[in-house]
Structures are given as C-alpha cells and as structure tokens.
C-alpha cells in the first residue's frame, strides 16, 4: 500500500525556495561586478586552461558595463541571502532537523558508496533515509560555503572597518578571490544537485514543494497520525531521495 508521509517541514521548504532565486541573483549580480576586474583563471604557471570569462561569454549574457547596477543589486539581495541563511541555521538547530543534515562518522564511507552507486559502479542502493551520507556532506558543505560567502563578502565590502577580518583571510585581493570561488562552488553544487534531483524523480522533487512523499508500506498504518491515502496506481519513484 502507498501512503503520503511528511518529509520536509514547511520552514525548510520556504528557506530552500527563497534561497534559490536569491542565490541566483547574488551570483548574477556578482558576475556584473566581477566583469570590471575579470582576472581569475584556471591554470598552472603560465599555462591557462580557462579564463573567467572570455569576452564573448560576457557579451553573450549581457554582462559588460553594468557594475553600478550589479553592486546595487548585490547590496540589496545580500540581506535576503544572509537573513534567510541565518534563520535557516537557527531553525535547523532548534527544531532538531540538523540531525538529518550534519554528517556523522559513517557519512564519509556511505558517501563513497552513494557516489559509486550513482556512477553505476555499485549495485547496492543507498540507505532509504531522508538524507544519505553524500547528501549530508553536500548540504552541510554548502551551508558552510554560505557562511564563507558572508565572511569573505564582509571582508571585501568593508575592508577598513573590518581590517582584522580581511587580514585574516589573506588580505583584500585574496578575500575577493575566495569570494569568487565560493560562488563557483555554488554553481558546481547546483549542477550536481539538479542532476540528482532529475535522477531521483518527481516524488522526491514534489516533497520539496508540498512536504509530502509517497512511500510504500507493507501494512496499513493503524496507529499514530493518520496519513491521507492516495490512489495506488499513481506512478512514483518510491524511497529515492536527493
């Protein structure tokens, strides 16, 4: 029998869906700012694999000559990004949700198994918990990256008033570099996250919107909170998470 089970609390879903467009706008406005001094690259010594970014890439996205606009957007949405992130962390701590999210001593080993499974190198399915070890590591890392963006952001936003902070990050230009690569890290996270969500399927995605996931149970639930039952013929990908 199938039934609906609560998966993600309403608060978590709001934090997630507020963060998505806000983080997108922070990266976009950050790109408008970065263009004015687009000096970073991927390479070793004199060898450059890739510059961030070639002129034609900037032009294709309409980035050039929008520094003032980029800064004003960045210094507007930074408040939403920071407050949403802080309230999220406070919520996960107080509600106990952190227990699902923070990696434990088994997470690393489990994460390797999950990666092997997802690369089709291992047949055994990841454990059907809310978040497996790979997810715990990924989601906790991205929160730490958020904290890193705030800290490096303050260091380049007010490098005189917070000179101690800027100095502790290696100086003004290093802090800018760190801030840039954290943004690059979000893009990488986003790509993997999106692929995994696509893989996990509709049931998993819907749970992040509605909060409920369809699960298969062997016997009807007779105790505890009643769960709304659903038609048994509904197509689902049960117990897969992302």
């Amino acid at each position: 029998m199938r039934r609906l089970e609560k998966k993600h609390p309403l608060a978590i879903r709001w934090f997630h869906w507020v963060n998505f467009p806000v983080l997108f706008l922070m990266i976009w406005s950050g790109l408008l700012i970065y263009w004015s001094n687009a000096v970073y690259r991927l390479g070793l010594g004199k060898y450059t694999l890739f510059t961030f970014f070639p002129d034609r890439v900037f032009e294709a996205f309409g980035v050039p000559y929008r520094l003032a606009e980029g800064m004003s957007l960045h210094f507007f949405f930074m408040w939403f990004f920071a407050i949403n992130g802080l309230v999220y962390v406070i919520y996960t701590v107080l509600s106990g949700e952190w227990r699902y999210l923070v990696p434990n001593r088994h997470s690393f080993r489990e994460a390797i198994q999950v990666v092997l499974h997802d690369l089709r190198l291992r047949k055994i399915e990841p454990p059907p918990r809310k978040f497996n070890g790979a997810q715990q590591i990924a989601y906790t890392t991205v929160i730490l990256m958020g904290a890193g963006s705030l800290v490096t952001g303050v260091a380049i936003y007010k490098p005189v008033q917070f000179a101690w902070l800027t100095a502790s990050l290696g100086g003004y230009q290093w802090a800018r570099w760190e801030h840039f690569w954290l943004a690059g890290g979000y893009v990488l996270f986003f790509v993997i996250h999106l692929l995994q969500v696509l893989r996990a399927g509709w049931n998993n995605f819907r749970a992040m919107v509605t909060g409920y996931e369809v699960v298969t149970v062997s016997a009807p639930s007779s105790s505890g909170k009643p769960n709304p039952s659903i038609p048994a013929d509904q197509t689902t990908h049960d117990e897969k998470t992302s």
């Binding site: 800064m71 408040w79 007010k158 003004y172």
Partner: protein, 237 residues
Amino acid sequence: MGVGAAAGFAGWKWVTTRPEGGDLGQPLRRTLEFNEKLAKSYFNETRVAPTFPREMAREPRLTGEEGLPAGFDPLTWRLEVVGAGDARTVTLEDIKRLPRVNMTTEHKCIEGWSEIVNWTGARLSDFAAAYKLGTRDGTSPDVRDRPRDLVRYVGLETPDGGYYVGMDMPSALHPQTLLCYEMGGRPLSMEHGAPLRLVTTVKYGLKSIKRIGRITFTDERPRDFWAEQGYDWYAGL
C-alpha cells in the same frame, strides 16, 4: 508556492524599475542609503587601513580624465575653500606647511582592483583644524568630543567642475584622508592630479578626486559624479 513565486516576480519588477538616466530606482537607492546609515553607525575613525612597506608601492594605473582637461596651469592654482565663514583661497605652500604625512596604503578601485601606493600630504583633518573649517560655530573640528558641531559633508570639485565628489564628515576627518601633493616621493604628475588631490583609504578610489579646485564644508549632501551614474554615494570601505 505559486503565490510566493508571483510575489517574488512582482518584487523583482519593483526592485529593478529605474528612472530615466543613469541613476538607480528608489528601492535600490534606498537600500544603499540604509546600508550607508548602518555603516556610519559602526564607522570608527580609530580603525585604519593596513599600511605596507614602502618598497611594495607602485604607481597606480590611470583612470578617467573627467575634470582634468589639458591647458591647466598648476602654478597659478589656488584652492578655493568654502566653509562656515567667508570663502577664501589657499596656496599649495599653505598646505605644505601643515604636518607632513607619508603613508603606503592599498588604493582600492570600485572596479575591484587594488594597488599599493605611497602618498604624501596633509591630513584633511589638520587642514580643517588649522583653518577652523567644518564646524557650525567656526571652531576647529573635534570628531570625538564635539561631533554635533561638525557640518555633515565635504564636497570637492575640480577647477572646471568636471568631476566632483561628496564625502561624509567623519570619513573626511579620518587620519588616512589626505590632501595629497606627492606620490612615490615625487610631486604629483599632471595625470595623477597635480598639484593637489585627495587620497583616502576609507572610500573606493572614485572619491579620491584629482586636481582639487574647490572644497566646500556643508550640511547639504554634495553632488557626486559617480553617484549620479548609479553608484553608491557613500562608497565607504
């Protein structure tokens, strides 16, 4: 969720609506002003930018030429001072008589690059103290003990008025805000703002105006070249 998405989209439209010209729309401008208020509340004149060994100093790259037309004669130059009392003019010699300050600091452009530069000049605060400028009662300014006597702003313009900046008074009186006449141990070159320019570590480089012609102490927020183009008026670091 649908309502949330619609509200988000409407919010985006509202935030990014802009008036004609180069300036920002009200939501973004107001947010910059809110950020400015917050920054002023924790601004502390005892916090200074780090200084570097003089060997690390380089000549900074050249930027815009607004307010720096050819045909300017630095020898006949005078600084026009508009303050609480009567307007007056000051010569370069007058400024060089003030305590000489040398600093090697990181000059930070709003574009994101920075360069370590060696500057020599007189503190704007020493200048204001010597000429009793920037206070409502015509005494010397005292940031710490009598901040209420200070006028709120300083405006600086090139002789032709082609470039102009405004600064809040606490930033203007910061110990690393100089009326600068030497760079790298040599008198300022024409393209770097001879005979006298502003240098400050507490603002982006766009506030460090070259070739100062007029300096005004005022309670009215001075116009600012780049703020009119959509940049933050405060631009504080």
